[in-house]
Symmetry: C2
Subunit: 304 residues, 2 copies
């Protein structure tokens, strides 16, 4: 199975319905889980999708509308009841950190893990980094301050050609440098080009989350070159006026962003409850950007 | 259909599972909806059970543990998005009112309805009254302050015997008094006993909600004479020690309360997630109080 994927836990808009839950996704990168937004019901959706609380250490909140974060108190309380240890970091705006700290201090005084808040800003850039991945913010254009997130794998290591490194007697101490692309210098000074010793690394992939936002070409600039883009598509063309009024996008606008950014695939979501299904959204997006997927609860999308 | 019933929206304990949601019930009295506790997911369960937000004007919170009230911000926000009008009153302890007021002022600034908090105390007595019903509090015995609620129908009107009131020429102006049980005095001074003019009213029914609480005979005293009792039964006998430690009850203890109180029927719920089903709870309760029902999500119990 892919070691970089995104699980869709909720892809409805503000009002939950019997068809869609409020916004929540879980990025799984080499078994580390990172949640993006945490609408009401997120804790239950994690159980439903068999995503373990113990692997979740980072939660990224795009903006402080209830449908993107009201699942946080319940999730964090339940994690304490499950004796989760280690550190759980919530990346959010200052006023969200203050409010959630207060709510958690009220409802979840006895925490088994260390709860931290990382205060972020949309224009900040990299807000999280581990050995294999970075997460960066970029501004979205909604009715309230809102940030997108780009999950970017770091360059991966090249694969050693075992026969060749044996032939040239490359010492173990040099192996990491070789995997990172260095040439090998033999004791007699002869240089062996890295390409003779290795085969190329898998490409580093990236995933951008863009919700909630009006259509804005600056979003396409911010996510240029990202492989997979999730972009909100609250409305179809028939309600383009509402999209503009409310700081949301149509499916066609989401597709234009993916096209302008040069993405490989587009996932749409955050559907208004005024639609009975997403066939219009999907048709209108695919007319502009064919490789479009309509998000649905329980879906896992391979990001490799 | 019955004009007094209770809908079970959630009957699990602190940790939601794929089998049970956190605590939430909706009492329906003559089409007025009154919610008791509001665990995460309550708003969605209302939709699932086709209970209209527009009919919900009172929410009663038993205590300030997250599994009994964390659905409140989402429910109240969604009600504003649905343009609900009128007044919505949340009956809760002072510190809950303060916190929820702050959360709602943050996430749901533009309310279409008037949100009020009624500060209650467990030992208070009647906290709500309308034409046909009262709601009163009584103390429960949990780890934090906790209140039970008794929903009590007011005495109902007797039924007019049309033939008899025509025969005695009872004027319309006297009819309400007759329904309330008055005798009729004829113009010549003859007294016609009420029993000749009417047939008996339906009995006034009552419903008590007891969660969360350790077993305590004072609970039985408080709910003596109530027709239907909901009493928490977090554990079966095999975990009686945990029940005592954590301020909860076993199913057998719930049944003892119903027996001591002289109830007509008992509903048990608030099951620990450590059980795969409620067969033990039900068997142990029925051994003491045969007319026991095991609550489950989506169930409606007739209170008439």
């Amino acid at each position: 199975m892919a070691d970089f994927k995104v699980n869709i836990l909720g892809c409805g808009s503000a009002t939950p319905s019997l068809r869609h839950l409020p916004s929540c996704q879980v990025v799984d990168h080499r078994d580390k889980l990172m949640m993006i937004d945490c609408g009401e019901g997120a804790q239950l959706s994690m159980r439903r999708m068999k995503l373990k609380y113990s692997r979740l250490n980072n939660i990224f909140i795009s903006h402080l509308h209830g449908d993107h974060c009201l699942g946080l108190p319940g999730l964090l309380s339940t994690m304490a009841l499950h004796d989760i240890e280690g550190t759980v970091t919530v990346h959010t705006f200052a006023e969200g950190a203050e409010l959630f700290q207060r709510i958690l201090d009220f409802f979840c005084r006895e925490r088994t893990y260390d709860l931290r808040f990382n205060i972020i800003k949309p224009e900040q850039g990299i807000i999280y980094e581990d050995k294999a991945l970075t997460v960066e913010t970029f501004p979205l254009y909604h009715r309230v301050p809102c940030t997108g997130f780009i999950f970017r794998e770091k360059p991966k290591l090249r694969h050693i050609n075992r026969e060749m490194v044996d032939f040239y007697r490359v010492p173990v101490s040099q192996m990491l440098a070789i995997k990172e692309g260095a040439d090998f210098v033999m004791p007699d000074g002869t240089v062996v080009a890295n390409e003779r010793l290795t085969t190329p690394a898998e490409p580093a992939r990236s995933y951008a989350y863009c919700s909630d936002t009006a259509y804005n070409p600056r979003v396409a600039e911010a996510v240029r070159g990202v492989d997979t883009i999730y972009h909100e598509a609250t409305y179809a063309d028939d309600q383009a006026d509402k999209a503009a009024q409310r700081g949301h996008s149509t499916a066609a606008e989401a597709a234009r962003i993916a096209l302008e950014a040069g993405a490989r695939q587009l996932i749409i979501g955050h559907y208004s409850k005024s639609y009975n299904d997403e066939s219009r959204h999907l048709a209108e997006a695919r007319a502009i950007f064919p490789n479009t997927i309509a998000a649905t609860e329980g879906m896992t999308v391979d990001l490799n």
